[in-house]
């Protein structure tokens, strides 16, 4: 932790010292007056019938509990240090079937196994620092991002600059992010060296085309450009353009593939893999998004978002989202929302038993299939404008509860409930 915090604190203090030498001694309002704390707890449940770990057929039942805390601290009058840290603890039926033979039930893609791959915890730690110029028209930022789960770890860093023009009516920003990730590949049990089981059923002897990946690194380089514009006293919009390159092991080593031209073998009801998914070494992504917000009245605001996405794997997607914050007096607000999404399939996507072993690339991950989805959401927020609820130096700012239901055309659905509580510390 100390090693991670040191560079960003050093950078923050360095920028602060340099900046303070340039500025005349005069009073400037702090960009952040008090320490702000945002806590977020979300609980996610999912179900579906197209688990990628079991080659496109099998239970996708999954639950995830994710507590997160974001602390923003003023650094001098011009800087903000933000520390975002959290956990994501999940239990996944499909992940449990990396080894379907370690439970008490007969092996089946429709039943969760009780082995250790059934659950995992992802931890993340993202500190960042933003420095504002004296006239508040230039903002520099630098960030680190570290995350770790059982078979995957990630280290990221980034920097960016934003400039405000035209009496702060126009903002232009450029950000660069780099992630250097490392897999610890966990292959399906039947593909591991030394696997033997006397209960295999099928014609002939079970063999497979599997060879372990020679590459376990995954690097991501992302360039983001954004421009925001105030259009009228009640309307503003922004445009986001990203260009992302990924290289390395972009396949998930635990996701099985069953070939059309290979015989089938089973243990109980569980079909043994012919291989794991194989995806190209490179992926280039080009998302373009826009937001438009309109203050309709004191009672209602329109928030809208649209995105077009395409990538070098043949996936293109459209996203449209609308949210209507409805104010109920000074303290309470409601947040109904709707989101529509559609995507085309990746060039390498095949449902179960549709790929052939001669193909160079293949996956049966239905997240890369063609589908549409709809999401309905509803939230309620209480804002404590006068900090009536406070304890010692900690004052409540707001508390919000949000629920969403997501439905995908290929059967997957999830529900997510999130509770966010924001505080200020004097």
């Amino acid at each position: 932790m100390k090693q991670i915090l040191s560079p960003i604190l050093f950078l923050a203090i360095g920028i602060q010292i340099l900046w303070s030498q340039e500025q005349p001694a005069s009073y400037t309002k702090k960009v952040l007056e008090k320490v702000a704390v945002q806590t977020l707890f979300s609980y996610y449940t999912q179900d579906g019938n197209n688990a990628a770990v079991t080659g496109g057929e099998g239970t996708e039942a999954l639950t995830d509990a994710a507590p997160t805390i974001v602390v923003q601290m003023p650094i001098g009058s011009d800087g903000i240090l933000t520390v975002d840290t959290g956990l994501s603890a999940y239990t996944s039926a499909s992940s449990s079937n990396v080894n379907p033979l370690d439970g008490n039930e007969p092996a089946s893609p429709w039943v969760a196994s009780s082995g250790p791959s059934r659950s995992d915890v992802l931890a993340h730690f993202n500190p960042s620092y933003a420095h504002f110029s004296a006239d508040r028209n230039t903002i520099y930022n630098a960030s680190l991002a570290v995350s770790k789960e059982y078979d995957y770890q990630s280290f990221g860093f980034g920097a960016g600059v934003s400039k405000l023009y035209n009496e702060k009516n126009t903002e232009v920003g450029l950000n660069v992010q780099v992630y250097l990730d490392q897999h610890d590949p966990q292959y399906p049990i039947e593909l591991r060296t030394g696997f033997f089981n006397g209960n295999i059923r099928g014609e002939g002897t079970y063999t497979n085309d599997f060879a372990a990946f020679s590459q376990a690194k995954r690097n991501t380089y992302a360039l983001s450009f954004n421009v925001a514009q105030i259009l009228t006293a009640k309307m503003q919009a922004s445009l986001f353009i990203d260009a992302v390159m990924q290289e390395g092991l972009l396949s998930s080593p635990l996701q099985r593939v069953y070939f059309a031209d290979k015989p089938d073998f089973f243990i109980d009801d569980f079909q043994l893999a012919d291989n794991v998914e194989r995806l190209p070494f490179y992926r280039y992504k080009y998302p373009v998004g826009a937001r438009l917000n309109y203050y309709i009245s004191d009672a209602i605001i329109l928030r809208s978002y649209a995105r077009y996405y395409n990538d070098s794997w043949g996936v293109s997607g459209l996203t449209a989202e609308i949210e209507l914050p409805i104010s109920l007096g000074l303290n309470w607000a409601l947040f109904p929302s709707f989101r529509h999404y559609s995507q085309s399939a990746a060039d390498y996507f095949y449902p179960k038993e549709m790929a052939t072993s001669s193909a160079q690339y293949y996956t049966s991950d239905f997240d890369l299939a063609s589908f549409t989805s709809q999401q309905w959401g509803f939230g309620v927020r209480y804002k404590d404008l006068l900090s009536q609820f406070s304890l010692w130096k900690i004052g409540l700012k707001s508390i919000e509860l949000r629920y969403i239901h997501y439905n995908r055309s290929n059967g997957l659905q999830f529900d997510q409930t999130a509770l966010g509580v924001n505080f200020e510390i004097d």
Binding site: L40, S42, Y44, A52, L62, D64, V70, S92, D120, A145, S147, Y152, G156, E167, K168, Q177, D181, R218, T220, A222, I230, L231, T232, K234, Q236, A237, S238, L239, F240, D242, V244, S252, Q255, K285, P287, V288, A290, N293, Y295, I301, R303, Y305, A306, R307, Y308, Y309, D311, V315, G317, T319, Y341, Q343, A346, D367, S373, R402, I404, F414, Q416, G420
Partner: protein, 68 residues
């Protein structure tokens, strides 16, 4: 489609006038911010896992396997 989308947004930006600071009471309302609301961070994370498309919304563009 992509180019049409960009042109439409740029045309929208080209017709604006400067709004003075004292006129920004509506623009500065908390729910008018041009970013995803804090509580929607959980939604964005779920979409990154369950959909092929990602990015251009202020969320992460890497740093996770997306395998569960």
């Amino acid at each position: 489609m992509k180019y049409l989308f960009i042109v439409a947004v740029l045309l929208m930006f080209s017709s604006c006038v400067a709004v003075k600071e004292y006129e920004k009471v509506y623009i500065n309302a908390e729910d008018m911010a041009l970013s995803a609301r804090g509580i929607c961070k959980a939604d964005i994370s779920s979409h990154i896992y369950r959909e092929g498309a990602a990015g251009a919304n202020g969320g992460k563009m890497g740093g996770g396997c997306g395998c569960n």
